[in-house]
Symmetry: C2
């Protein structure tokens, strides 16, 4: 086959799948060790090589070491998190309050990945029908960075409980720049065996075969080889 | 260091970075070979192991082999693409029209990754401040699949020139389900050395060091080790 030039060795393929399966949203296991600049440069370069609509590359990276900026962001988190906690009642409320949902001060580095919605001018190739494709592209950059971090032994936690307008003010972002992801980064003592929300009984993993449809919504795969493959215990490597 | 348990071998780490750097948005190099069900199951499982806000897992996967469904989607693309082409003038218009922007019929498989905005009920942990975090999570699943596909020798092309309402109708999606990504998948004759839009002179890669800020927007890194690391030719592996 002509595509054999582009073959990955077993170990290379395993590395990609390991990063995908062993990546975690880290809040509690951060070590104080600094991330060396050449390692951080690799992570940022990985993000920068994400696909983007019309090759727009709408992202910027705000590398935050300042304690005072992080304290400001932590205060914004706490305010939003208090509001969020009130949405849950009884046992669910107790459980919510017991969860650690950010590692802003414990991680040695915070990183805000933004989306410049004006980059490339008013007409970006491929962005005419769905204007949000610039935000989607920026998400792909986040995932590249998250996976590269895992391969480097670095944990990443995404803090989503923040008001974007307040965060924009805290980081001096211009009006056309959207703070898409606020991340905490650092080496970790361990990567947990499963997602924390799963381990703590907040929510379970959905069975994949129930999420796959054939040709249009709601049409089951039926008695197909794909259905059989999806139902097998996943051989990951 | 305690995190040494979680070490990636050089080959594993190289596999992750190769997938990131050698991934392409494929439109023209598809081979007709079918994707075996166990390989497709690995790709879908990779997507399913993306991070999601509050472990919401808002995605579904519509696996499209039907020629008639694909012909319908192609017609929707052509209609939108004609409108898109009109946004460019002169030489830019000619160049736009010369670009191939989809491989809907040539690829053996189309895949729509959707976002069920109602999954997990009205209060999803971490989704109170930014309601779009469910869409962002679904993007992370797209990137997992895209990278796993590269490691398997499979090309992926994201068709973003589609009206989401028309696509929803074509795939019978309920009102609360958003068709986030329409993808074309197949083995390829080659992965191009650089992104097609870059090779064809549509747009250049931005210098990464100009996209990195220190502590807040617009503050340069200055004469720092990170600035030096970012300016070096990227040693990728």
């Amino acid at each position: 086959m002509t595509h054999s030039n582009y073959h990955f060795s077993d170990a290379e393929r395993r590395g990609l799948y390991r990063a995908i399966y062993e990546r975690r949203d880290v809040r509690s296991q951060f070590l104080p060790d600094a991330i060396p600049p050449e390692v951080l440069a690799r992570l940022l370069n990985a993000a920068h090589h994400a696909p983007s609509v019309g090759f727009m590359q709408p992202w910027d990276f705000i590398v935050i070491e300042s304690r005072s900026v992080r304290e400001t962001v932590l205060a914004l988190f706490e305010q939003e998190n208090q509001k969020a906690a009130e949405q849950f009642e009884g046992e669910r409320h107790e459980r919510y309050c017991s969860l650690k949902l950010q590692g802003i001060m414990e991680s040695p580095l915070n990183l805000c990945i933004t989306c410049d919605r004006s980059r490339g001018g008013p007409h970006v190739l491929g962005r005419n029908s769905i204007i949000e494709t610039d935000l989607f592209s920026t998400c792909l950059a986040v995932q590249n960075l998250w996976l590269a971090a895992r391969a480097e032994g670095i944990g990443v936690g995404w803090v989503s409980i923040l008001d974007q307008e307040q965060l924009r003010t805290a980081l001096n972002l211009p009006e056309h720049v959207y703070p898409l992801a606020y991340l905490c980064l650092g080496y970790v003592s361990e990567f947990l065996g499963q997602p924390e929300l799963q381990a703590k009984g907040w929510r379970s993993r959905l069975p994949l075969n129930e999420l796959v449809h054939s040709d249009s919504w709601g049409q089951p795969l039926g008695d197909s080889p794909l259905e059989a493959a999806l139902s097998e215990p996943q051989e990951r490597l």
